[in-house]
């Protein structure tokens, strides 16, 4: 294995008494697409801000490109791109002016900024909006400007904090497609998300975080195979009766989870599990068989749902 692009050992971030990141070990290889999956408050953003060299490491060791953020923050930041959780665009300025002033932060000559702005706006399919102000653009377009802007210094590593949160499904797919192309060009992607579908779409490898700790690591497929069954049967009973009805399906499949709104039965064959439930006389209001997802992995590992 070549030297990792990011390497963290027993990394800790504390704010006063609050421990946001509680001793995590992470290695990200060049060209890989790596995700931090977890609910809000799991410590994902704090980790990203340490990797982005804006938030100092409290304890432990962190190396990016083999450099130390405490000493070489400037050099590291010059080689990474950052897509923050909330857009930081100047709404009153045009798309291309936003690109230009950002490029100047990296000390790129104006001619280079202009050239790259042209290429990058084509890449995010906003070439026709170069002169438009930011304000009237849709959420998905603003997000694409932010991504174009984060690429102005031709970064080797792109950090994306919740890249598609708050976007409609269509806008999310457009964004995923662009990020996938970046990955194909060899840019290393590191992202945080609390969407399992996003993690499954984009990540070669991910860690599941909960309360500042890493609770599992692997590819999406590995995690599902290791921590869940192939299929899941979802049963809905009349509101408020899930707990009392759960005994009816006891022993079906490998195990079950009772959630406030439904009962999940983990089984290799979901249809067979459903047939057995019917045979026992259990009559749920509705039933659904689906593949296991990272959501199930998270539920299994933490006993909680990803999205509240």
């Amino acid at each position: 294995m070549s030297d990792p692009l990011i390497s963290a050992r027993q990394l800790v971030k504390r704010f006063g008494d609050f421990v946001a990141v509680d001793g995590i070990d992470v290695d990200v290889r060049r060209g890989e697409s790596f995700g931090f999956l977890g609910p809000n408050g799991a410590g994902k953003s704090s980790t990203m801000r340490m990797i982005g060299c804006v938030s100092p490491v409290t304890e432990g060791e962190l190396r990016i490109f083999g450099l130390d953020p405490a000493r070489d923050g400037k050099q590291i930041r010059a080689r990474i791109g950052v897509v923050p959780q909330q857009d930081q665009l100047d709404e009153q300025l045009s798309v291309e002016d936003n690109m230009l002033i950002y490029g100047r932060y990296f000390d790129l000559p104006r001619s280079v900024c202009r050239q790259r702005t042209k290429e990058l706006l084509e890449f995010v399919q906003l070439a026709d909006r170069a002169k438009s102000r930011i304000e009237p653009l849709s959420g998905g377009m603003k997000r694409r400007v932010t991504i174009a802007r984060s690429l102005i210094n031709e970064p080797e590593l792109l950090l994306l904090d919740e890249p598609t949160t708050g976007l409609d499904p269509q806008a999310r797919h457009v964004l995923w497609d662009r990020l996938y192309r970046l990955k194909q060009r060899g840019v290393t992607l590191v992202l945080t998300t609390h969407y399992m579908d996003e993690a499954e779409q984009l990540c070669d490898r991910l860690v599941v975080m909960d309360r500042g700790r890493i609770v599992a690591e692997g590819s999406p497929r590995e995690l599902i195979e290791r921590h869940s069954t192939r299929e899941v049967l979802e049963l809905r009973f009349p509101a408020g009766t899930n707990e009392e009805r759960a005994h009816e399906i006891d022993g079906i499949g490998q195990r079950h989870e009772v959630l406030p709104d439904r009962v999940l039965i983990y089984a290799h064959d979901g249809e067979a599990a459903l047939a057995e439930a019917h045979a026992r006389g259990s009559a749920p209001e509705s039933a659904l068989v689906r593949r296991s997802s990272l959501e199930d992995v998270f539920l299994r590992l933490t006993g909680r749902s990803l999205v509240d």
Binding site: P56, K74, R77, L93, F106
Partner: protein
């Protein structure tokens, strides 16, 4: 060839200003002009009729006394206006400072670029008032050329400490109080409208330590050719001290906040 980081930060503020300068103009020019006409000409007619007032005003008509002080008060207003809400916005609303901090720029460079910009804004505004003063016989003077940088320095003496303070605030709720209990009293009692020797004894030392009085003295005397070197050096030193201390504190406040 590389450009100093603070200048590149300054460029971003300049770019934004070029996009919105028209809406800024009214406040910057019209307000001092209104005071000049309303107070300088209107109240001045009353004051000038009062025998003995001219001695108190150093032999000047009231208009001549008041008009150059408007260079300093305008700088104070701009320096304040450019440091309170825009600083909060840079952290919380537009989040410009956060975007800058993700680039190779250091918190110190981000702060210095902002302060450089605030000085520029004061320079532009004071320059505008100076252009108006050129129109009047009583204030048409080569001294205006020196008064403009003196005015900008006065703006910086407000902008730098207020930027430091604003960067430590989580909410903007206290900002109107700064205007109400800080800036407006200075405007009224800082020596712009009458000599501070007219203030009650206990208020005079207070007026003397505030940046506005030093700025007013510099601008007024240099326009009328009555500024001595020793006085000039003293006033500039006080204003520069405000800028330097404010800058140091602002850099610390930015470094702390951006590392959160």
């Amino acid at each position: 060839m590389s450009t100093p980081a603070a200048v590149r930060v300054w460029e971003s503020h300049w770019t934004l200003y070029r996009a919105i300068w028209k809406s800024n103009m009214a406040g910057a020019f019209v307000q001092p002009l209104l005071y000049l006409l309303g107070m300088g000409v209107g109240v001045g007619a009353l004051v000038n009729r009062n025998t003995g007032s001219s001695d108190l005003l150093g032999g000047l008509s009231y208009f001549e006394f008041l008009a150059p002080a408007m260079l300093a008060t305008t700088a104070m207003m701009i320096g304040t206006q450019e440091s309170l809400w825009p600083v909060m916005g840079g952290f919380k609303w537009q989040r410009t400072f956060l975007a800058q901090a993700a680039s190779p720029l250091s918190p110190g460079e981000i702060t210095s670029g902002l302060l450089l910009w605030q000085l520029t804004r004061a320079l532009i505004a004071v320059g505008g008032v100076a252009c108006v003063l050129v129109l009047f016989d009583g204030t048409r003077s080569w001294g205006l050329l020196a008064a403009v940088p003196f005015g900008a320095l006065t703006g910086g003496a407000f902008a730098a400490p207020l930027t430091a303070w604003a960067a430590t605030r989580e909410r903007e709720s206290s900002f109107p109080s700064i205007l109400r209990f800080g800036i407006v009293p200075l405007f009224l009692f800082g020596g712009a409208f009458y000599p501070i020797s007219e203030l009650p004894g206990w208020m005079q030392p207070i007026a003397r330590v505030t940046p506005l009085w030093h700025g007013v003295e510099l601008c007024r005397n240099v326009v009328h050719g009555t500024l001595g070197w020793a006085d000039a050096a003293g006033h500039v030193a006080v204003l520069a001290a405000y800028v330097v201390v404010g800058t140091v504190l602002a850099r610390l406040a930015f470094a702390r906040r951006l590392a959160e």
